[in-house]
């Protein structure tokens, strides 16, 4: 079942001469882990804003085509209705956090939905635990470091337990180990709870391994849409300058040099290392 579907979606921001996304037709299935990538300004963020109705309800502008999310037509639904199903984590956490304490920020969305107090407490605890922010509970969000703010922003969306979680470069301010922890958390939510994940990310080295669907955009259009191994393993992906993971690149180079490697394209260092171990064994 598709949880997100767009048909020939074209959108132009108010006062802008050219559309930011053009004729985008994509389908996202329930439980998928989707990676959206492309150069800055290619329309990734704009597309995500259509998923929870920020476009067109908040940003106005001109929207053509169709977008359906969890069976609801976005054009006909208010944002608060969509917000129950779609959680959006912004690129810049400062745009998302506003309460006086981390705890209040994470509870905010739930309070708005009129959920009983004890239930809110439980959900907040769960979200803080998952994102490793329990000890920040009483702190003021604006006093936190960029990385800490990003974790709190994710917690505040997680607490709502949405069906779909859309994350726009959610770890850009985090150190690599911190980023890996967050991606692992997101991956667990996807694999264990079945939450559909849409992740906007440039750093495919860190994230390609988790995805089972990749969408590459350029200049407002979708130029690749498919299975990550297939898309990232293709010559075209290299030609258009997508930052394919280094293990995948090494695989392609060695394959071209005639090394006898398996046909499954690797997306992580673990996969590439075990493949090389096999080959090296043959030579011993």
């Amino acid at each position: 079942m598709s949880v997100v579907e767009t048909k020939e979606l074209t959108y132009t921001y108010p006062g802008s001469a050219n559309p930011s996304i053009k004729d985008v037709s994509i389908k996202i299935e329930k439980g998928e882990f989707v990676l959206i990538t492309g150069p800055s300004g290619c329309g990734k963020t704009t597309l995500c804003r259509c998923f929870n109705g920020l476009i067109p309800h908040f940003y106005q502008g001109e929207l053509k085509g169709e977008v359906t999310v969890v069976g609801l037509k976005v054009l006909e639904q208010p944002i608060y209705q969509l917000a129950k199903s779609v959680g959006l984590v912004f690129q810049n956490p400062e745009n998302q956090l506003f309460a006086l304490s981390v705890e209040k920020d994470v509870a905010f969305g739930l309070e708005n939905l009129g959920i009983p107090r004890e239930s809110i407490q439980k959900k907040v605890d769960w979200a803080l635990e998952l994102t490793g922010t329990c000890d920040l509970r009483e702190r003021a969000p604006h006093e936190l470091s960029g990385g800490q703010q990003q974790r709190v922003a994710i917690a505040s969306v997680l607490a709502m337990q949405p069906e779909i979680i859309v994350l726009d470069e959610p770890t850009s301010f985090l150190d690599p180990l911190g980023a890996k922890k967050i991606f692992d958390v997101i991956n667990d939510l996807n694999k264990n709870l079945g939450i559909t994940v849409v992740l906007v990310e440039h750093r495919l080295d860190l994230t390609a391994r988790y995805a089972n669907h990749i969408i590459i955009m350029d200049d407002g259009e979708v130029i690749f849409d498919g299975e990550p191994r297939e898309v990232l393993g293709s010559k075209e992906a290299r030609l258009i300058g997508v930052g394919i993971p280094k293990p995948t690149l090494l695989y392609q180079l060695l394959k071209k040099d005639g090394m006898n490697l398996m046909s499954t394209v690797p997306l992580s260092s673990e996969e590439m290392a075990s493949m090389l171990k096999e080959v090296l064994k043959d030579y011993d």
Binding site: S40, G41, P247, L254, L276
Partner: protein
């Protein structure tokens, strides 16, 4: 030249962010400052343009003690591009944004125009000249912030997380740009978490942890030492991880580059065949 001598810094909320940092960065050096969130990286570089002054110890920029000069004076030779571009941008058009500092420094109108066009070109922003910076994407705003600092051609350039929001091709351009700046003798300091980017540039790497420098050396050496990296919450580059997992006595461990990895592996295969 930048010289920090036993620098300590404590924020008003009593957080001790620097605990005895001593380093020397020579003219024309390219340095990547890395380490976990809250390690003190941004605090340290803010000492280089006088935004912060040491609580103890001394920072010299070209032999001048930063406590004995003004931020305005230092700004001319030390350009600083913030992590979050929104803290830096405020003009109505991209063009005005880039011209702003130049006008403040009192450059002639003709020079301002030339410099603005040059900076727009270098960062691929020509099309956005008359757009509002706030209508641009996060990655583009980041480049506008960089262009606005570049334009006044500071001798030392500090870039806090320059690769955030930048796609592969833009990162390659950024690398080209850094190399170009180096040939002009500029000192470049980047604060970054982007291990893959650092692996591609192979600069001098300074690793920080809890207000101290815990490693200082060539990227190829520092980024292939898993123990020291873990201490700083850094994951080795993908290529290094492959070689660490292979843990093959016939293979070196100090590999960070994909093309170098390819040569080494092909070489090993050749030798094994014989």
């Amino acid at each position: 030249m930048i010289e920090a001598k036993n620098v300590y810094f404590t924020y008003p909320n009593r957080v001790e962010a620097l605990k005895g940092v001593s380093i020397r960065i020579g003219d024309g050096e390219f340095v990547a400052l890395m380490g976990e969130n809250g390690a003190g990286k941004t605090t340290l570089v803010k000492h280089f343009n006088g935004l912060l002054r040491p609580s103890k110890g001394t920072v010299f920029i070209d032999h001048v003690d930063t406590t004995k000069t003004s931020v305005a004076k230092l700004a001319k030779s030390v350009g600083f591009v913030f992590q979050n571009p929104d803290n830096q941008l405020f003009c109505e058009t991209v063009e005005d944004e880039i011209a702003f500092a130049l006008k403040n420094f009192g450059f002639e109108e003709k020079t301002v125009k030339k410099r603005v066009t040059w900076a727009l070109n270098v960062l691929g922003l020509e099309h956005y000249r008359r757009n509002s910076p706030f209508m641009l994407s996060g990655g583009e705003r980041k480049r506008v912030a960089l262009a606005s600092v570049l334009a006044w051609k500071p001798k030392i350039l500090i870039l806090d997380e320059p690769t955030i929001g930048q796609h592969h091709q833009q990162k390659e351009k950024l690398l080209q740009f850094i190399l170009q700046m180096r040939t002009q003798g500029k000192t470049i300091i980047i604060v970054t978490h982007d291990v893959e980017f650092v692996a591609e540039c192979n600069p001098r790497v300074l690793l920080m942890k809890q207000g101290k420098i815990i490693a200082d050396g060539e990227a190829r050496i520092v980024l292939t030492d898993p123990e020291i990296l873990t201490q700083a919450s850094i994951v080795p580059p993908q290529v290094t991880q492959i070689f660490l997992q292979l843990s093959n006595p016939d293979l070196p461990k100090e590999v960070i580059d994909v093309y170098q990895a390819r040569e080494i592996l092909l070489g090993l295969m050749e030798r094994k065949k014989k």
